[in-house]
Assembly symmetry: C2
Homo-oligomer: 183 residues x 2
């Protein structure tokens, strides 16, 4: 039964967590973002919420560039560990031994082991409450073709970490039962 409450109900998962990378001068960083969304298909535009105090926010605000990436379940520990220490103090790529390469349209590292990557140029940084909503034009897509079957992820080939909250994940894989909902 539906009951109204004055306490915040923070329900938006289960869903994918995005890894956000950014670089400014010689500093690069990576963070996990639970609040993110496509905003437009054509032209492709993506948005992500980043706290103003985050080192990644600083790098994006300076460089006006960032990348959004999704990693398979075997790399879900990147999501959990990326928040464990600040990029101000350590190079997380070295510490976590993360393979990366240079973006094609932006001067920003992209994670080589991702199955989907969106390179973005910042369009707007919009302050809303305790986060900024960062809007980016997607300037280049990358994907692992093996991980997709047309538009859908191919769960026979890639295991997806679906975040539930509190470090718990549902792993979508070849054993996951899929249900088709009819109109």
């Amino acid at each position: 039964m539906l009951k109204s409450t004055n306490e915040t109900v923070l329900h938006c998962y289960p869903g994918l967590v995005a890894l956000v990378t950014a670089k400014w001068n010689d500093e690069k960083n990576i963070m996990a973002a639970g609040w993110h969304s496509y905003m437009s298909y054509a032209p492709p535009i993506y948005g992500v919420a980043v706290g103003k105090e985050r080192h990644t926010h600083h790098l994006i605000a300076k460089s006006k560039q960032f990348a959004i990436q999704f990693v398979p379940a075997k790399l879900a520990h990147y999501i959990e560990t990326a928040g464990g220490f600040s990029g101000r103090d350590v190079d997380k790529f070295e510490r976590l031994n993360i393979a990366y390469q240079q973006g094609e349209t932006i001067d920003c590292p992209i994670l080589s082991e991702s199955y989907a990557v969106y390179e973005c140029q910042v369009k707007d940084i919009l302050p809303y409450g305790d986060h900024d909503w960062i809007v980016g034009d997607i300037t280049k897509f990358h994907h692992d073709e093996v991980a997709f079957d047309g538009m859908l992820p191919n769960l026979e080939k890639v295991q997806l970490p679906i975040y539930l909250g509190q470090s718990q994940y549902i792993i979508a894989n070849h054993e996951t039962k899929l249900t088709r909902i009819e109109k």
Copy 2:
């Protein structure tokens, strides 16, 4: 292996689909939205992408109010059918026989069978590409207490429809294997 492509990679699922309700004068409507996100925790702010041509967009733009709701798997057909015809032509609440009640802080129907509802006052309507990103201050929360165990959904009590794409869902329930990812 990561390969760059010029085709749009529309990957943001698996995740929850939000049902959006709105009302203006005597017209009310409901639509499914795949692109939505929390934007701020305190104060609580939520965003959702709505096409300018949608009837729901018209109702929100006029009334400056809307509600975001999440429904259990047994009602996932609302998600699939809500897009099947336009609210300009039919009353979807009647047609789909959807139980609803009046919002507490907004003049807008909220779905009585949801397990989580956010009543929202429009803060901004931001045009980005082929959608508008509608930002709302959450003015009231509702939830089904049975469906939650603290902050997490209680999968013993509620089955969640996790949208994969193309009308396919992963049903998160008591049989879903949960994996804890360690740092």
